[in-house]
């Protein structure tokens, strides 16, 4: 769980980190159904993990709900010397799929907050209508659950680093 403020709205995001291992994929796919935003994460030091993104995207298209928001993440940006995937490659791929792109580092906190805020923004925008309904509602029973956003976060296969920013 994490609380962030976007547009003056306090948003509670629930972050799921799904197992990246291939053998679990049949199961993890089922978890996409409940996600509103998804980070597709590869490891910039692993060409293979980058190649896998296409598979992730097609899985997401197939299993995630309509209107799910996606962001492409190239993680481990701090490991410049081991880089196998160029920044432009990431940008190119993101462009192809119409996604935003960030290179992040869970170790140095690079772009972590930014990418989470951005994805949350996108999710909020996608749910603008419901949100407006909430806002104009005169009742005081604006329950926590109604603003709670859930986000799935399937990580790239080679990505074992855990988020250490919170």
């Amino acid at each position: 769980m994490k609380t962030i403020e976007v547009d003056g709205i306090k948003v509670r995001i629930q972050i799921w980190d799904t197992a990246g291992q291939e053998r679990y994929q049949t199961i993890t796919k089922q978890y996409y159904r409940r996600a509103q935003g998804i980070f597709l994460v590869y490891d910039i030091s692993s060409e293979r993990s980058y190649q896998h993104i296409m598979k992730w995207v097609s899985d997401v298209d197939e299993y995630a709900p309509e209107g799910v928001q996606k962001i492409l993440i190239g993680n481990k940006a701090d490991e410049e010397q081991k880089r196998q995937v160029g920044r432009e490659q990431g940008q190119q791929l993101a462009k192809e799929y119409g996604m935003d792109f960030y290179e992040t580092s869970a170790c140095t906190n690079l772009n972590i907050k930014e990418s989470f805020t951005r994805l949350t923004e996108l999710v909020l925008q996608a749910h603008r209508k419901e949100l407006d309904g909430l806002r104009t509602r005169a009742s005081n029973e604006l329950a926590l659950a109604e603003l709670e956003e859930e986000e799935g976060k399937p990580e790239g296969p080679a990505n074992s680093s855990k988020t250490c920013w919170c």
């Binding site: 609380t3 799921w16 199961i27």
Partner: protein, 913 residues
């Protein structure tokens, strides 16, 4: 005066006026008084509907004749009645609560009187709003139709009249006319209305709020605030986060020192009993002496108006006269904004702040407590304004306590009554009301009416003449009562260095020369309570001669907690983060000693167990293996987790055993490769995450679970064959001989069957109780391995174990010896040997062979029945249910079927072919 009674008289049966409030309707330049009544109707179809009835009225409505219906606004789904705070640059005289009423059709602005009644009214209206629950039907307001065209006023409809032209629908409250422009333009500014340049002027344009905020933002703000809120309060109350919000707030209070610093502000506190007079002289000598200009003015009056009208109707022209006089008498070096004016009959308190401080004043509330006649009336009592200045809560009380020298105990009581009965609303309606004592700073001023005791008038006057105030102070009732802790406990008063302020002949500095010839007394006082308060001056002002009292003033430096915005934001972020952290720490989490399980060389009917430990973290948790999506059980049939669910206390652990056991049901598919020793278990924590456990391994194919014909084609021991061959043979359809596709010469019967039967024939033909004694589990495994590896010569087991292995073999055949398709035919002709033989001849060759072979063997056994005690009935009952199995789900045979199956076998045992 409860004016809802008057409204009630005008209503129809079934309609009820919940609450009424008298307000001012502001339309452009015009200000008209309206009575607003919230009316409830309960339709027959259930539920309830509300409407706001607006009445014009006589001065004070007592009966239905005093009011006349002007307009009805149904409380529909799009109805809102919200407080709006006016733009910071604007100022509206005397406005206490400005509310804006909006529906789809109209928009009205009202000013309602301050105080708890208005608040209750607004709360009632909020409660009446139907909300957005789609489950509840839209209100229809059919009951209002009777008011529609029969309005009490015969005049033509005014633009804001209920008598709307047709076509606007029953829910239409009227035509917007000139006011529809209000819709998207609201005032949104937090902080205080300030406009020093427009004192005392009505500027109607002020009510036309600015155009730069969308409606929803304002709704948000209005909903979350009371009157005006500063930035911080605004952020916090923006969205309702329930408990979490409360925690954040209390943490913020705890950590206040981290993000605030003390800054001194100059407070002017003044009190003046004006004896019912109007202002006749400028108040500057009292209010604006010395420099610099105070940051805050707290100015209190008593006996503002002594008339009966003021007492009974609570209305007096003096209010505005003195308000103006004060406003004009404020320090000329600064511009001030009025924060609040509150009055109870003759007791009035005014609060001003320097214009630049207005944005830092929030949560302003004012209340009154009457302690006069009957202990309730307003001729005596107190009024108070509480507010938040930066981060310090301040309460200013102006009281007029009971008069007369001997009544000091009454005064003490008045003080206590004011303290206990003065209660302020809080922003959060869930919180209990605030009392005076709950403030960081309390400033108490007023005509406290304590006198000088024991001394006669002359002595008092002499002491005053000698300026021996210290001696005189020794006889002051307030001093002695405070010393006795009977009143004003914890309060401090500065040294009295000025002569008593009461009682003078009006217009002079002469002591009272009237008949009563009252002894001089320090009636008018200023006390304080709280930290970081320094009194800079405490004096009377002889220059003012309007009243029989002299005004008193005290100037303070008060250390106020000022928020460092950056540090505040940081603290808030830290708190939110720590709450998140706490919440995350409260999500159950466990560690698993192992997540991957490999079961090697799994054999038929041989249990393999692997265990792992679930070690719990700090949160009690419930765990359970859950079904994967679209699956009926949490794992494959050959697997079992024990226990598969449970509860763990913090820091405790539990061992879970994964039991793998392949039986006749699961063996065939493992032989054929249709199934594999592969599975994923999902261990789910209630409110927590899911863990995946992977199970892998390999199965050693066995003759057990293999079909008869498959085994017939296996000339080699099954374990010597490549898996691929086993797979193909297992999947091979049964009746291949009809297809003419013959694999290399098959065996007549499965060699494994022959091995067991032959073994029994050789060793056990005379064995007593054969097939009736259980074998040994360990010997079964040995027999299975011998059969599967073809090393029959090494077989050494008890006869009973081999006999049982034979039965298990027959039981594990996926297709029984009498094929499922032939089952019913067999039952039908049981008792008829010829017909039975006929049916057997329809079986596939391998099955025929096996059947005949077994029957021959059993008949051999019966020949030795003297030794082995077997008879046809025993064997028929054992083999009947193995050879003939009901195709309907392998269920147990019912008694009749069982009997027929036995009879069927019985015939073959009795008759040699």
């Amino acid at each position: 005066m409860d004016q809802s009674m008057a409204i009630q008289e005008t209503l129809a049966e079934g309609e009820y006026c919940i609450i009424a409030v008298q307000g001012v309707l502001c339309e452009g330049d015009s200000r008209q008084s309206r009575l607003l009544g919230l009316v409830r109707h309960r339709p027959k179809r259930g539920g309830q509907e509300h409407a706001l009835f607006l009445y014009t009225h006589r001065r004070m409505a007592i009966t239905g004749d005093d009011v006349s219906l002007d307009q009805i606004v149904p409380v529909s789904r799009d109805f809102t009645l919200e407080e709006v705070s006016l733009d910071g640059e604007l100022y509206v005289l005397g406005s206490d609560v400005t509310v804006q009423l909006d529906t789809a059709e109209l928009s009205l602005v009202f000013q309602l009187p301050f105080g708890s009644h208005t608040r209750t009214f607004l709360q009632e209206v909020a409660r009446a709003c139907p909300g957005f629950d789609p489950a509840t039907p839209d209100p229809e307001f059919l009951w209002l139709s009777r008011y529609r065209c029969t309005g009490p006023e015969p005049e033509p409809p005014t633009p804001l009249c209920w008598n709307a032209p047709p076509g606007t629908g029953p829910r239409c409250a009227g035509i917007g006319g000139g006011v529809s422009d209000f819709d998207d333009s609201r005032s949104d500014k937090r902080g205080l209305p300030v406009d020093p340049s427009s004192w005392g002027q009505d500027t109607p344009d002020n009510l036309l709020p600015r155009q730069n905020k969308s409606k929803c933002e304002i709704t948000d703000m209005v909903r979350s605030s009371t009157i005006m809120v500063s930035d911080k309060a605004h952020i916090l109350s923006m969205q309702k986060f329930g408990l979490r919000d409360t925690i954040v707030k209390s943490r913020l209070v705890q950590k206040e020192e981290d993000y605030t610093y003390i800054q001194n502000f100059r407070f002017f506190v003044g009190t003046y009993n004006v004896n019912g007079q109007s202002p006749k002289e400028g108040l500057r000598p009292w209010l604006s002496h010395g420099t610099p200009a105070p940051d805050v003015y707290c100015v209190g009056f008593q006996e503002l108006d002594l008339s009966k009208e003021a007492f009974f109707f609570h209305d007096t022209p003096k209010e505005e006269e003195w308000f103006k006089a004060v406003s004009e008498g404020l320090h000329p070096d600064a511009k001030y904004a009025k924060v609040k004016l509150i009055r109870l009959v003759g007791i009035m308190l005014l609060l001003y702040v320097k214009q630049e401080h207005a944005a830092h004043v929030s949560e302003v509330e004012a209340e009154t407590v009457g302690t006069g006649i009957m202990g309730r009336m307003g001729n005596k009592g107190g009024v108070a304004i509480r507010f938040q200045f930066h981060n310090t809560s301040i309460c200013v009380v102006n009281s007029h306590l009971a008069a007369h020298t001997e009544e000091y105990e009454r005064r003490n009581q008045d003080y206590k009554d004011i303290c206990s009965r003065m209660q302020f609303c809080q922003i959060d309606p869930g919180l209990p009301p605030l009392t005076i004592s709950k403030h960081d700073v309390i400033l108490w001023l007023g005509d406290l009416n304590y006198r000088i005791e024991e001394l006669d008038v002359e002595t008092v006057k002499n002491l005053i003449e000698e300026k021996d105030f210290q001696t005189l102070y020794g006889y002051d009732q307030l001093k002695t009562q405070m010393a006795a802790k009977s009143v004003f406990e914890g309060f401090i008063e500065g040294e009295l260095t000025f002569q008593p302020t009461y009682k003078y002949d009006t217009g002079s500095d002469d002591w009272d020369t009237s008949e009563k010839c009252r002894a001089p007394a320090w009636c008018d006082r200023v006390l304080w309570k709280g930290k970081n308060i320094t009194q800079l001056s405490y004096q009377s002002h002889m220059a003012l001669k309007t009243s029989d009292h002299k005004p008193v003033s005290s100037v303070f430096d008060i250390g106020v907690k000022v928020v460092n915005e950056e540090r505040y934001r940081k603290t808030l972020e830290e708190i939110v983060r720590s709450l998140d952290k706490m919440e995350n720490a409260n999500i159950p989490s466990v560690s698993l000693s192992k997540r991957e399980f490999c079961f090697q060389n799994v054999k038929y009917m041989q249990l393999q167990v692997q265990s792992f430990t679930i070690r719990n973290g700090q949160v009690p948790c419930q765990f359970e293996f859950i079904n994967k999506p679209d699956e009926k059980s949490y794992c494959k049939q050959w697997l079992n987790a024990n226990p598969s669910r449970g509860f763990l206390l913090p820091d405790s652990a539990i061992e879970i055993e994964l039991e793998l056991f392949v039986n006749k049901t699961t063996a065939t598919k493992l032989n054929s490769g249709e199934d594999k020793i592969e599975d994923i278990l999902v261990l789910h924590l209630d409110r927590g995450k899911d863990y995946f456990l992977s199970v892998s391994g390999n199965y050693l194919p066995s003759c057990f679970g293999s079909p008869i014909h498959t085994l017939c084609y296996m000339r080699e021991p099954i374990l010597d064959l490549p898996l691929e061959t086993i797979r193909e043979l297992t999947l091979m359809p049964l009746q291949t001989e009809d297809d003419g596709v013959q694999l290399e010469n098959p065996l007549g019967i499965p060699k494994e069957l022959w091995m067991m039967v032959d073994y029994l024939y050789q060793n056990a033909i005379q064995q007593e109780d054969l097939f009736q004694q259980p074998g040994l589990r360990s010997e079964f495994e040995h027999i299975r391995d011998c059969l599967d590896t073809g090393m029959i010569e090494t077989l050494s087991a008890s006869n009973h174990s081999v006999a049982e292995a034979l039965l298990l073999f027959l039981e594990s055949l996926p297709e029984p010896v009498i094929c499922y398709s032939t089952y019913h035919n067999c039952l039908e002709c049981s008792g008829n040997y010829i017909a039975s033989k006929q049916v057997i001849s329809t079986l596939p060759t391998f099955h025929q062979n096996v059947f005949n072979y077994l029957m021959a063997f059993l008949r051999e056994l019966l020949k030795k029945s003297a030794k082995n005690h077997l008879d046809e009935n025993i064997l028929a009952s054992i083999f009947g249910s193995l050879l003939l199995r009901n195709p309907a789900g392998h269920q147990k045979l019912d008694m009749a079927e069982k009997k027929k199956a036995q009879e069927f076998i019985h015939l073959f045992l009795c008759n040699s072919p």
